[in-house]
């Protein structure tokens, strides 16, 4: 089963799309690696990731179905 990766804010300018589906690479670290290879613009970008709406603080395994959100600094209000 696939996992879904969502892009927000200025990251959509880099990804060119709001979301992609990929085969589960198994861990949040592996997702980050894949992202930086696929979208070199993300390498220097400031962003945090959330796994199923929980901010990722330490590397985690990913089970399906899962949603990974890539989020630049918030600017609401």
């Amino acid at each position: 089963m696939d996992i879904e990766i969502l892009f927000f804010g200025q990251l959509t300018d880099i990804s060119g799309c709001p979301s992609v589906k990929i085969e589960n690479p198994g861990s949040t670290e592996a997702v980050k690696e894949w992202l930086c290879k696929q979208y070199p613009g993300l390498v220097g970008a400031k962003f945090v990731m959330a796994l199923n709406n929980q901010l990722i603080v330490v590397p985690q395994k990913i089970t399906e179905p899962s949603i990974i959100a890539c989020m630049p600094p918030f600017s609401g209000g």
Binding site: L6, F8, G9, Q10, A50, N53, A69, M71, P72, P73, F74, S75, G76, G77
Partner: protein
């Protein structure tokens, strides 16, 4: 648990605010309300003027975060009620994009809870503002 929605499409109307205020007239244990409103500013960047902000959000996560903020605030402050509304989509310069409304028996509680809630909304909710210029170019807003 049903998450409370905070999102409003486009600007927040002043009449929506007065309706909210009116609804509190029956809560006769309230002595003080505090309201914070965010308004879109016509900032200038490199001689170009902002004409509006377009807001997007990671909505399910934002609503979960807001629920957590709400619980923290109610645990810390003896509030009668708290209401939060944030715009999504385009909000023109001069229009309102954020409405935070706290009510309590005494003023310090309502004021401090409102202020803390606004700070948390700005720091913790996954919402992004894209500042649109008159020539249709844009830049992503940054909160300070």
């Amino acid at each position: 648990m049903q998450l409370k929605n905070i999102f409003v499409e486009g600007a927040i109307a002043p009449l929506f605010i007065s309706d909210s205020i009116t609804k509190h007239a029956t809560k006769t244990n309230i002595g003080a309300h505090n309201i914070f409103l965010g308004q879109v500013r016509a900032d200038s960047v490199d001689n170009k003027q902002v004409i509006g902000i377009e807001y997007t959000s990671n909505q399910p996560m934002a609503l979960e975060c807001m629920q957590a903020i709400r619980e923290q605030i109610f645990e810390k402050y003896d509030l009668t009620c708290m209401h939060v509304y944030h715009s999504l989509g385009k909000v023109a310069v001069g229009e309102l994009c954020l409405f935070v409304f706290t009510s309590s028996k005494h003023r310090a509680t309502a004021i401090n809870a409102c202020t803390e809630c606004v700070e948390k909304i700005k720091a913790e909710l996954p919402i992004w503002g894209k500042e649109i210029f008159e020539d249709e170019s844009y830049q992503w807003k940054e909160n300070k």
